[in-house]
Amino acid sequence: MKHRFNRRQFAFGVAATGAVLATSGSAGRVRAATPPIKIGSLLPRSGFEALIGQGCQRSVEIAKKLLPDLGYSFEVIDADTESKPEVARTQAEKLIRDGANILVGAFDSGQTFAIAQVAEQNGVPFVINIGSDPAITEQGYKYVFRNFPTSVMLGSNGLSRFNDLFKASGTTPKTAVLMHVNDTFGQSMLKGINALMPKLNLPFQIVETIAYDPQAKDLSIEVAKAKAAKADIQMVVTRLNDAILMTREMVKQKYEPMAIISPGSPGMYQTQYLKVLGKYAEYAITNVPWLDPKQPFAHTFEAAFKKTYPEEICDIDAGFTFEGILICADAYKRAGSTRPEALVEALKATNIKDRVMLGGAISFNEKGQNVNLPSACVQNRNGKPTVVLPAENAELKPVFPVPGWSQRT
């Protein structure tokens, strides 16, 4: 039997379809408007790490602007750890009392440890943006996830890039001086370097190891000692201010090794280093995880970052802090619930392919550690840290040995 629509039936049908579509549309909006997850962000925004904490905070602000447009629903409650583990602990407890469903932070291993304990005791998931002490993910914690390399990974990945650099440049140094900051990070890096050097078949020998105070205001003696060793390269594990002091002293004392290379520490790629030292900051090399120049999402993030903070460098701290918020928001999106158990299950199943940092998809092993975090060889070029290795991700070719201080313009 043939059924033919008359005009009235057709009009009714159109209206009914429209109503259904409208309803589904409003349902969609209702889904988008479900209460956002509360992410408690803990960063050292004051105290001796304030400079870096404030830098990380910039990425949190970018995440607040950028991620909602990509369908992530969240709000961030900001907290300041004041660069102190005991404050980090109390702030984490306060955030949980204030309703934070998930925590993210905290740049420093000591503070991160304190927060991890609070998170575990309270059964609240905690995503580590930056914090490299291997012990954090060796405690058997169920609620702690880290998207940052351990100091062992940093050292190993960073050191393995040395051979790539020597191969790419065709120059092989024979000796090195190791200057390192004498704090928890510096000591763990030192242990890692000493343990890995023989295994990685590096062609040079460390002829002098110089440890210095992390609060040092003058490194003239340390640099004089390094110069006296007459080594081919200056290997360094620094923070920011000491990296500036060290380079400045090297220029003054006319100490010109083949290059200054860090196997994976902050300092030489940071805005302040480049701004303060100008031409003398050029060619410094740091082997660290970095934003992947070949990832479209990295370009989106960097463009948003540069638009808001044109004077700042979008660096490793910025990238990992942004990814920290992304991981939290992504877990909630997939879990569809703020229940800690649901969030933990979602975090375990994390598989974020569109990321900003170099490496494969973001995922976590059974210990909550992301192991897809290779280091790039990042060299300061034309006032900007630039990926020069691995070749497939590089923007420029590496320069090694680097020009002497007086040859720079």
């Binding site: 400079l51 004498n182 003054k252």
Partner: protein, 285 residues
């Protein structure tokens, strides 16, 4: 020759340390108040020199009289308006007051300038003088010369001027000074002003050597204490000697033993001096 380089570098840095500690010694020697905001005042001097340099292009060394003058006024006002009320009070109350002032200064600097390390870009920042194998950092030489001139000027002020002599009279015998009609409160304020000016001048010179951040103050307060206790609390030549000793001992221990033990060596020296000569090397028993 390497050792000579190290010792000379230590002496040059020590001279600036000496000037910085001099302010603390002057204030304690006369008013008998321990200035726990000393490092913070130096940092104020550094920021003042930074501001002058960035706004007017004036070199921190050239800005020294201006900054020292500004710090003098600040110190004078602080003593006249606040600290003077605490001079006769118990020491722990003085301690709390000055600690509060230190906290207010650091917090204000953080609010005003943020946590970023700041420095002044100088044309000669990377220059050095070469005398055969002896390599002298130009900035350090300038800073040390400035410190020596500052110490000499202060010495001349206390020895040759009426106000300087009056201040010394106050330091020797406050009651006697009041009896002969000296305005002790004003002289105390002048003394605190001079102490602040000293530390302001040291701030200008330190800006040549290090970057300024609000949080570096505590380290320098502690360093100033080590120096003045080494040299003798209240002794001006002692402060300079203490500064030079700390500078050289830091340099030598850093080079010969272990750089990260530099500060520990300064403290060891302090303990040694306290054991052998509790009043300090040039202090009065």
């Amino acid at each position: 020759m390497l050792y000579l380089n190290i010792i000379v570098a230590g002496l040059l840095t020590g001279a600036v340390y000496g000037l910085m500690a001099l302010g603390l010694s002057v204030i304690f020697g006369v008013i008998r108040v321990v200035n726990f905001a000393h490092g913070e005042m130096m940092v104020v001097g550094m920021y003042a020199a930074y501001l002058v340099a960035t706004k007017t292009g004036l070199d921190p060394v050239a800005a020294l009289p201006l900054v020292a003058g500004g710090l003098f006024v600040l110190g004078y006002a602080l003593q006249r308006g606040l600290i003077n009320r605490y001079v006769a009070r118990p020491e722990h109350e003085q301690f709390l007051l000055l600690l509060a002032i230190a906290t207010v200064i650091t917090a204000s600097l953080l609010m005003g300038f943020g946590p970023d390390a700041r420095n002044v870009q100088l044309d000669y920042a990377y220059d050095s003088y070469q005398f055969g194998p002896l390599l002298l950092d130009k900035v350090r030489v300038l800073a040390a010369l400035g410190a020596v001139v500052g110490v000499a000027a202060l010495w001349a002020f206390f020895r040759l001027t009426r106000t300087g002599k009056a201040i010394r009279a106050c330091a020797d015998n406050q009651f006697g000074a009041e009896v002969v009609g000296l305005d002790v409160k004003r002289l105390y304020a002048v003394t605190f002003g001079i102490g602040a000016a000293c530390v302001g001048a040291a701030g200008c010179l330190m800006l040549l050597l290090i970057d300024v951040q609000p949080y570096i103050a505590t380290d320098y307060t502690l360093l100033a204490f080590i120096i003045v206790i080494l040299g003798g609390l209240g002794s001006m030549p002692g402060a300079l000697l203490g500064g030079l000793l700390v500078g050289v001992s830091e340099a030598l221990s850093g080079f010969v033993i272990e750089p990260s033990l530099k500060s520990a060596f300064s403290f060891a020296l302090l303990i040694l001096v306290l054991l052998v000569r509790p009043q300090g090397l040039l202090g009065r028993a």
